[in-house]
C-alpha cells in the first residue's frame, strides 16, 4: 500500500548517515520510555510469599526484552519513514468508500442469505452455533443502541440497564406467571421501554458529556439494585430455572409430545439451539426492519435532525423533548427484547452479566460500525466478537489484544467501518454522504 519513492539521501552517504543517527536517537528515546514504563510493572512481579505477605520476583529478562523490542521497533519505523513516504489514507479510502456504496445492497443480501443458512452449514458444530447466537444477540443490541447513539446522537453509556431490565422482567414474569415466551417477550420490552423513559426524563436538558455520565450511573444503579434486592432478584445468585423455549408449545425434549417426536425426527439437543438461533435472527431482522422504516418516517428524520442541530429542530417546531424520549424508549425496548431472549436462552441470569463492560462493548460496536449504519453494526459485531473467539487459546492476553484492537481500529477509521450515511429520501438520485460532514454524537454543544 505504501508508495516507495526513494529519497535523495540514498545518493548522499552523509545524508544517509544523518538519517541513521536520527533514527538511532529516536530508538534510544523509545527504549528509555519503555524502560520507564515497564521497569516496575514488568521487571518486578509481586507474589504471595510463604507468610502471606508479598514478595518480589525479578523478571529482568522480560524487561530487557520489552526495552529491546521498543528500541528495534522504533529504529525500523524511523528508517522506514525516511525511506518511504506513506501516503495519507485518502488514496485508499475513497476506493473503499465507492466500492462499499456500490456493493452495499448486494453485500447486505449476501450476508442475510449466509445468516439464514448458518444453522444448516454448521449443524454439527454446537460451538459455532452458540457463537452465532452470541453474535446475533449483540447485533440486535447494536441495532437498539444505534437508534439512541447513531441516529439521535444521544450518548448513552448505560445501555446494559435495558438489557438487564428486559432479562429480569422476562425471568420473573415467566417464572411467576407461567406465561409463554410470546407473551412475556413484549411485556419485557414494555418494562424496558418504561425504564428508558425513566432514564430519559432527568437527562433531557443535559449536554452530551453530562448525559454520558448520568446514563452510566443509571446502568450502574440498575446493576446494584439487581445485586442487592435479594427478595425480588435473588441478588448475586440471580434467577435460575427460567423456562426454556419451546416450539410454539412443543417442548424441545425427547418425550412423545416433544418437538422431535411431533416432526418425526430423531431427538437432538441441537434442535433447540437451532430454534434459538432463528429466534434471535428473527428478532434482529425485525429490529432492523423497524429501524429502517423509522428512518424514513418523520420520527426517524427528527432523530437525525436532533443529532445534527438541536436548536434548529426547536426553531422548526419539533418537540425535542418527546423526540428524545421516543429515542430512549425505542432503543430501550429493543434492548429489552434482547434481554428477554438472553434470559430464555441461558435459563439462568445474574447481575454479573450486566456490567459496564457490556455497555462499552455495544457502544464500541455502534461507533466502530459507523454511526447510524445498520450494516456497520453487523460487520463490527461479527469482527469484534468473532475475532475475540478466534483468539480463545490466548486466554488472558485476549482482552488485552481486544482493547488494543479497539484503539487501533478507531485510530485508523475513526468514523467506523461504514463511513457513509445514506439519505432517507431523494429527489433524483440517492447519493451517500461521507461521514465527516455528518455530526456524530456530540460531547460539547456548539458555541
Amino acid at each position: 500500500m505504501s508508495d516507495p519513492s526513494p529519497t535523495p539521501s540514498a545518493d548522499h552517504p552523509a545524508g544517509e548517515r544523518d538519517d541513521l543517527l536520527a533514527a538511532l536517537k529516536e530508538a534510544v528515546v523509545a527504549a528509555a520510555i519503555a524502560f520507564g514504563l515497564f521497569a516496575l510493572l514488568i521487571g518486578i512481579r509481586t507474589e504471595q510469599g510463604p507468610s502471606g505477605a508479598l514478595v518480589i520476583v525479578t523478571r529482568f529478562g522480560a524487561l530487557a526484552g520489552f526495552v529491546a523490542a521498543a528500541f528495534v521497533g522504533r529504529f525500523i519505523f524511523a528508517i522506514a519513514r525516511h525511506r518511504f513516504t506513506v501516503p495519507a489514507n485518502f488514496i485508499v479510502l475513497p476506493a473503499i468508500r465507492k466500492s462499499a456504496a456500490a456493493f452495499s445492497p448486494y453485500f447486505a443480501l449476501a450476508l442475510l442469505i449466509f445468516a439464514l443458512l448458518v444453522p444448516i452449514l454448521f449443524y454439527r458444530n454446537n460451538y459455532l452455533l452458540d457463537l452465532a447466537i452470541l453474535i446475533v444477540t449483540y447485533i440486535m443490541l447494536g441495532f437498539g443502541l444505534n437508534i439512541v447513539v447513531g441516529l439521535a446522537g444521544l450518548l448513552d453509556l448505560g445501555y446494559v440497564a435495558f438489557y438487564a431490565v428486559g432479562a429480569y422482567s422476562y425471568a420473573l414474569i415467566a417464572q411467576d406467571f407461567g406465561l409463554s415466551f410470546w407473551v412475556c417477550l413484549p411485556l419485557a420490552g414494555i418494562f424496558a421501554a418504561f425504564a428508558g423513559l425513566l432514564l430519559g426524563f432527568p437527562v433531557l436538558r443535559l449536554r452530551g458529556d453530562y448525559l454520558a455520565i448520568v446514563t452510566l450511573g443509571f446502568g450502574e444503579i440498575i446493576r446494584l439494585v439487581l445485586l442487592n434486592w435479594q427478595n425480588l432478584t435473588g441478588g448475586p445468585n440471580g434467577i435460575s430455572g427460567i423456562p426454556r423455549p419451546s416450539f410454539f408449545g412443543l417442548p424441545f425434549n425427547s418425550s412423545a409430545h416433544g418437538f422431535a417426536a411431533t416432526f418425526g425426527l430423531h431427538y437432538s439437543p441441537t434442535h433447540r439451539v437451532v430454534f434459538l438461533y432463528y429466534l434471535i435472527l428473527a428478532l434482529a431482522l425485525v429490529t432492523n426492519w423497524v429501524t429502517l422504516r423509522l428512518r424514513r418516517l418523520p420520527i426517524g428524520r427528527a432523530w437525525e435532525a436532533l443529532r445534527e442541530d438541536e436548536i434548529a429542530c426547536r426553531a422548526l417546531g419539533i418537540n425535542t423533548t418527546t423526540t428524545k424520549l421516543t429515542a430512549f424508549a425505542m432503543g430501550a425496548m429493543f434492548g429489552g427484547f434482547a434481554g428477554a431472549f438472553f434470559a430464555t436462552r441461558q435459563s439462568f441470569i445474574s447481575p454479573e452479566s450486566f456490567t459496564f463492560s457490556e455497555s462499552a462493548l455495544v457502544l464500541a460496536i455502534v461507533v466502530l460500525g459507523g454511526m447510524g449504519s445498520q450494516l456497520g453494526v453487523v460487520l463490527a459485531a461479527t469482527v469484534m466478537l468473532g475475532g475475540f473467539e478466534l483468539f480463545r487459546e490466548f486466554d488472558q492476553y485476549r482482552m488485552l489484544v481486544f482493547g488494543a484492537a479497539m484503539v487501533a481500529i478507531v485510530i485508523y477509521r475513526p468514523r467506523g467501518l461504514v463511513a457513509t450515511r445514506t439519505p432517507s429520501v431523494s429527489l433524483r438520485q440517492r447519493k451517500d454522504i461521507p461521514a465527516d460532514i455528518v455530526r456524530g454524537a456530540r460531547t460539547e454543544s456548539p458555541a
Binding site: 423509522l294 437525525e304 417546531g317 425535542t320 431523494s426 429527489l427 454522504i433 461521507p434
Partner: protein, 277 residues
C-alpha cells in the same frame, strides 16, 4: 382578515444578570409588511429575535402575535417549538444552522415534521404503510421542490447541506423556514456575505414572499442597500433602546440614527448612508 399588526412588541426588557440587552422596547410589525431592525452591533437585535422566537424568556414585556383570522398568541409564554409550530413564527440564524449531514431535500422535509407526523398517525400508520401518509409525504416533497426552485438549489437537492457554499447555505435556510408555512418570518442577516447581484436577488425574493404568499417579514440586517430598498418600516436600536421607528425615508434622515451609526458632528451627518453605497 385582522387589521391588527402581526406582531406587537410591548415594553420588552431583557436582562442577563447585570447586563440589560434590550430595554423598554415597543414597536409594531405590520401584517404583510417587511419590517427591518437595524442598529450597530450589540444593539440587542438578535436578543430581540431570540425573545420573539422563544429561545430567551423576556425579563419583562409582552409579545403579542395575531394571525389573520384573529387568533392571538402570547409569545413570551410559549416554548420555542410551540412558537414555531402553533404561532407559526419561523426564523433563520446569524450563524447558519443547517442539518449538515442531511441532504437539502431532507432539510426541507424535516421542516414539515409536524404535518407529516400527524399524517403518519404518530408513526403507527406510517409504519403500516398507510396510503394517506404516502400522499402527505409526496406533497411535502412537492413543497420542498417548490422552495428549492425558488432559491435556485434544485440541482443540488440530493447533496449534503454541509457541502454547500456559504451563500447557498443561507438561501437554503430561508427555503427551509418557508417550508413551515409561517405567518411571520424572522430573518437574521440574510444578506450577510452576499455581493451586489445576490443582494438584488434577495430583495426580489423577499418582496415576492411578502406579495405572493402574504407573509410578514421581520429582518435584521446591516446591508443598508437591502434595508432601504425593501423595507416598509424600519426600527432602529442602539444599546437596547429604540431610537427611531418609521418609514425608510424618515429614518434615513433621522439625526439620532446617523449619530448612532457614525457618531459624528452635525455637518457630516447630512449625507445619508444609503446613497453612499
Amino acid at each position: 382578515m385582522s387589521a391588527a399588526p402581526v406582531l406587537k412588541v410591548e415594553h420588552l426588557t431583557m436582562r442577563f444578570g447585570g447586563l440589560t440587552a434590550v430595554s423598554e422596547l415597543s414597536f409594531d410589525a405590520g401584517r404583510r409588511e417587511i419590517t427591518a431592525l437595524i442598529g450597530p452591533n450589540g444593539a440587542g437585535k438578535t436578543t430581540l429575535f431570540n425573545c420573539i422566537t422563544g429561545f430567551y424568556k423576556p425579563t419583562v414585556g409582552r409579545l403579542l402575535l395575531t394571525h389573520s383570522d384573529g387568533e392571538t398568541f402570547l409569545l413570551e409564554r410559549l416554548p420555542e417549538f410551540r412558537i414555531a409550530k402553533e404561532a407559526r413564527v419561523a426564523r433563520t440564524f446569524q450563524n447558519v444552522r443547517l442539518f449538515a449531514g442531511m441532504t437539502l431535500l431532507e432539510n426541507l422535509i424535516v421542516a414539515q415534521h409536524n404535518k407529516l407526523m400527524a399524517a403518519s398517525g404518530f408513526t403507527v400508520l406510517g409504519l403500516l404503510g398507510s396510503p394517506s401518509y404516502a400522499r402527505t409525504e409526496r406533497s411535502a416533497i412537492d413543497k420542498a421542490r417548490y422552495w428549492l426552485d425558488r432559491v435556485g438549489l434544485t440541482d443540488r437537492a440530493d447533496d449534503p447541506a454541509g457541502a454547500l457554499p456559504y451563500g447557498a447555505q443561507r438561501r437554503l435556510e430561508v427555503a427551509r423556514a418557508m417550508c413551515t408555512d409561517p405567518v411571520l418570518l424572522c430573518l437574521d442577516e440574510p444578506a450577510a456575505g452576499l455581493n451586489n447581484r445576490e443582494s438584488a436577488e434577495l430583495n426580489g425574493f423577499l418582496r415576492a414572499i411578502r406579495d405572493e404568499h402574504g407573509i410578514s417579514i421581520l429582518l435584521i440586517e446591516h446591508d443598508m442597500g437591502v434595508v432601504m430598498e425593501i423595507s416598509d418600516r424600519i426600527v432602529v436600536l442602539d444599546y437596547g433602546i429604540k431610537i427611531a421607528d418609521g418609514a425608510p425615508a424618515e429614518v434615513r434622515n433621522d439625526p439620532s440614527v446617523i449619530a448612532a451609526y457614525l457618531g459624528v458632528s452635525d455637518e457630516e451627518a447630512l449625507t445619508p448612508q444609503a446613497e453612499r453605497m
